[in-house]
């Protein structure tokens, strides 16, 4: 999952349907070998971005390039550069998996001999070889998703665009899908993945873009976004004995800001507090606890996960102020760029 040169470059993309703005000045750059997770609530504009990238929709203004091909002007080149898996599988009745892949291989103009070899390769990659003679409509959802990915790989595209690949999968299939996506990234593919299952994205994506109402709200690594979103960090102090909880809470309250939240949990012998203090200042709190003979067995920061970050951006009243204005996306991390 190494980051290379920019492969997907989207600049000031806007898409309007009459009075409704589906996409508003959307700008994003994606480097080769990255897995970008595009997340947002329903109607955020994710599918609109994807449709413009694969040439199924025209932007009202702005540009989108994959490689050096313009998604609007070079539609034919884009078809060879991109492997697209929509959220609907696109099944045909009475067709076996191998026939299904054979058809799409032929549709991409792959010669027969090369096609046969390629079908075997993509089936091997996606672990679908055992279902080659099964009828596509009789496959389970998870199997169909795998066959869908095999189809997108047939013409060996540089970029894979997968719309909700983990949607509707059981936990086992989700794990397998995650492993497959990582495998594809290791093969040098650039992946743009949308998903509602945020923990999945946080585990596999090198970059995450959060969008709402057609606008890019945040872009960067999961950790960076989480940190920036949550201006206050949550610290959990585990004590050796519940009897010292009050003492520990008093010390903490003394050292943090007046409005900061402190929660005592006697049953777990822990004290949790949220503070905007720096790491050094938080370290001082630990030192003070030790100095005052509080038996601290564990002192750790509770990580803000992607779900929390996502919620903070998608709540009607955004709680945490992004780094820039509300119109601008939060641009964090190195490698990827995002400009409003």
């Amino acid at each position: 999952m190494s980051s290379g040169k920019p492969v997907v470059v989207i600049e000031h993309l806007t898409k309007r349907y009459g009075d409704f703005t589906a996409l508003d000045d959307f700008t994003l750059t994606m480097n080769s070998g990255q897995i970008l997770g595009l997340i947002g609530p329903n109607g955020a504009g994710k599918t609109t971005v994807i449709k413009i990238l694969v040439g199924l929709s025209r932007p009202t203004s702005g540009t989108a390039h994959i490689g050096s091909a313009d998604c609007v002007a070079d539609a034919r080149r884009i078809k060879h550069l991109v492997g697209y898996m929509p959220d609907q599988f696109g099944s045909y009745d009475n067709m076996r998996v191998r026939e299904y892949l054979d058809f799409f291989g032929a549709a991409f103009g792959i010669r027969r001999r090369a096609r046969m070899k390629r079908i075997d390769e993509v089936m091997e990659t996606t672990s679908t070889a055992y279902m080659r003679d099964r009828f596509v409509e009789s496959l389970s959802h998870g199997m169909q998703q795998r066959v869908g990915i095999a189809r997108t790989l047939l013409h060996d595209p540089q970029v894979l665009i997968l719309d909700e690949p983990a949607n509707g999968l059981d936990p086992q299939a989700r794990i397998e899908m995650r492993e497959l996506l990582i495998k594809l990234a290791h093969l040098g593919k650039t992946l743009l993945v949308t998903s509602h299952i945020l923990p999945e994205l946080s585990r596999i994506c090198s970059r995450v873009a959060i969008m709402t109402n057609g606008k890019l709200r945040a872009f960067g690594t999961v950790d960076d976004i989480s940190r920036q979103v949550s201006q206050q960090r949550t610290i959990e102090v585990q004590l050796g004995s519940a009897s010292q909880i009050s003492q520990a809470a008093q010390i903490i309250r003394r050292l943090i800001n007046a409005g900061d939240e402190v929660i005592e949990a006697p049953a777990e012998a822990t004290v949790r507090f949220r503070t905007a203090r720096t790491e050094q200042e938080v370290g001082e709190i630990l030192s003070q606890l030790v100095r005052e003979a509080v038996a601290v067995t564990q002192f750790r920061e509770v990580q803000t996960d992607l779900e929390e970050a996502f919620m903070s951006f998608t709540r009607p009243t955004a709680p945490a102020a992004p780094a820039k204005s509300s119109q601008s996306p939060l641009a964090v991390g190195a490698g990827g760029t995002a400009n409003g």
């Binding site: 199924l56 697209y84 929509p86 696109g90 099944s91 009745d93 009475n94 799409f104 032929a106 010669r111």
Partner: protein, 554 residues
């Protein structure tokens, strides 16, 4: 309402936009029918002769029956299969409603729609009645009772089909096929066997009585189709009532018997393949099937349109072994008929055999073509395959051509399979050769027209079921409606009117060329070829424009 299903089904149906269109269309059609055919003198004086009034009413009744047969079956046909595919049938079966109440709920809801269609026709019927000469009970009430029976029988049939198929478009295909077979094709054997006095002729007579058209003709006192002066035997309407009620009961019990867990109890197809089996099994299967359906298919070759191959492979009966069976059946029937004539087993003339062949071919085209061509575009849109095709480098023209090619090849196979009969016919009577050549052109034009009309109509829809239903309705309207005018060829319609109506009808054109009794007086060629040619070009343009339209990124 006691049965919650009736309300849900009926309200759902009535909410649909197509229902509003259907109601408006019907009201306009019935009003126009009466206005156009209303005798001029009636506007000045209502003292009309009863016969003129009956002529208007006869036409109105045929129109109403045709409208019912064209519009109603789609509702019951899609009712159960749609529920099953959306998962709500499982929920329904899980309630205490029970199979009988579910069936009755659905049946009564469809009958509600049928009732609506019939009620919409009442003002036009009342206008006919006001002309005088029509008995309230003998004519008006009898016709409406017959129509109610037709609605009941075909609704039950549609529901039964709906429990067997796995997709809505298959439901529509099978239902319309069966409706056509029961209502129109059932008339054909009697047409050719009447007056022979054989057991076969008696059977054909009973079979004919199952057709609502025969019953309606009997009620209207129009005699039999192609009676050629023979006196109609038996009470056709009475027999129809018996047959219709019997079939309704049979279909109902059968459907209720299917409404249980077994409807879902199907294992997923494991995709057995004979390549992995022993040589003996493979050889036995080859012997049995000629083309083994479980043999691993070859990769798509170069210079072949992949869309065409895909269409053949994903069609239920598109695989080679099915096509071979179809071709074999057609060839056997075609040669069998000719053999029967040459050995004088049946005392039919060559022209009669020709007419049977023509009707068989036309019926095949009318039955097969919409089911092949109407879903070419709509099925891709419904299954989600269209965006995938769009992301391949294939052009729209290549996609459309590949799809049309798959239909053309199938129809060509069927067409060729029926040709041996003509060849033997020309061998028996060489003077018929020019006639046969013209018939072949007629049939080819019919096939092309049926394909392009179905494809063009189907391309206007997002879902295959309404696309197939509309394509069938459009094709049957072109092939059937002018024949209704032909039925009134002595009165109320004159020779010129009938000839004008038949000009657009490919069936009539072929039958006139073969010089079948009743059609030989009309000169329909080459005007019919011109019409079919121009209409086919228009349909092709509509198909292309519509396909380009849905392919343009928006």
């Amino acid at each position: 309402m006691a049965n919650p299903l009736i309300q849900r089904e009926l309200v759902t149906l009535l909410r649909q936009r197509r229902m509003v269109l259907l109601q408006c269309g019907l009201a306009t059609a019935f009003a126009l029918l009466v206005v156009i055919r209303w005798p001029t003198e009636a506007r000045m004086a209502l003292a009309l002769t009863g016969s003129r009034s009956q002529e208007v009413f006869r036409l109105f009744a045929y129109g109403l029956l045709s409208a019912l047969l064209l519009m109603l079956p789609v509702f019951p046909a899609t009712s159960i299969v749609r529920e099953r595919n959306s998962g709500t049938l499982a929920l329904l079966l899980n309630t205490p409603l029970g199979a009988v109440r579910i069936f009755l709920g659905k049946l009564l809801a469809v009958l509600g729609v049928a009732g609506l269609i019939l009620v919409l026709s009442l003002p036009a019927a009342a206008a006919c009645f006001a002309l005088g000469g029509i008995s309230l009970t003998g004519d008006l009430l009898a016709v409406y009772l017959l129509l109610a029976l037709v609605a009941l029988q075909y609704s039950a049939l549609g529901l039964l089909v709906s429990t067997y198929v796995t997709s809505t478009d298959a439901a529509v295909r099978w239902t319309y096929g069966l409706v056509l077979a029961l209502s129109v094709l059932a008339l054909a054997p009697h047409q050719f066997l009447q007056g022979t006095g054989t057991t076969l002729a008696d059977l054909a007579n009973w079979l004919r009585c199952g057709s609502p058209f025969a019953a309606l003709m009997s009620l209207e006192g129009a005699g039999d189709l192609g009676a050629a002066g023979l006196v109609s035997s038996g009470n056709v309407a009475g027999r129809f009532v018996l047959i219709s009620l019997g079939l309704t009961a049979l279909f109902s019990v059968w459907t209720i018997g299917r409404l249980n867990h077994t409807i879902f109890d199907r294992a997923r197809n494991q995709g057995r393949i004979s390549d992995d089996q022993s040589l003996a099994v493979r050889a036995a299967r080859r012997l049995m099937f000629v083309v083994d359906p479980q043999k691993r298919s070859r990769s798509i070759g170069p210079l072949v349109n992949p869309v065409m191959i895909k269409e053949f492979r994903c069609r239920r009966f598109g695989r080679l072994h099915w096509l071979l069976r179809l071709v074999a059946i057609c060839a056997v029937i075609s040669l069998g008929l000719t053999y029967a004539t040459t050995t004088s087993t049946i005392d039919w003339g060559v022209d009669t055999i020709g007419a049977i062949l023509v009707m068989m071919q036309v019926a095949l085209f009318v039955l097969i073509t919409p089911s092949l061509a109407s879903g070419l575009i709509s099925s891709e849109r419904e299954s989600g395959g269209w965006p995938l095709l769009q992301t391949t480098p294939m052009s729209v023209l290549r996609i459309v051509w590949g799809k049309l090619l798959s239909v053309i090849l199938t129809l060509l196979l069927v067409f060729c399979a029926t040709l041996p009969g003509y060849i033997v016919m020309v061998y028996i009577e060489p003077a018929m050769r020019p006639q046969v050549e013209r018939v072949v052109i007629c049939l080819a034009a019919t096939a092309v027209f049926a394909m392009l009309l179905s494809a063009a109509v189907g391309s206007l829809f997002r879902k295959t079921a309404p696309a197939t239903a509309t394509a069938y309705a459009a094709l049957l309207a072109v092939c059937g409606a002018p024949l209704l005018v032909w039925l009134g060829r002595d009165a109320p319609f004159g020779h010129d009117t009938v000839e004008s109506a038949l000009l657009i009808n490919p069936v009539a054109a072929a039958l006139s060329v073969i010089r079948l009794t009743g059609f030989r007086d009309y000169d329909l060629i080459p005007a019919n070829w011109w019409f079919l040619g121009i209409a086919s070009v228009v349909c092709f343009i509509v198909l292309l424009v519509q396909t380009y339209r849905i392919s343009i990124p928006r």
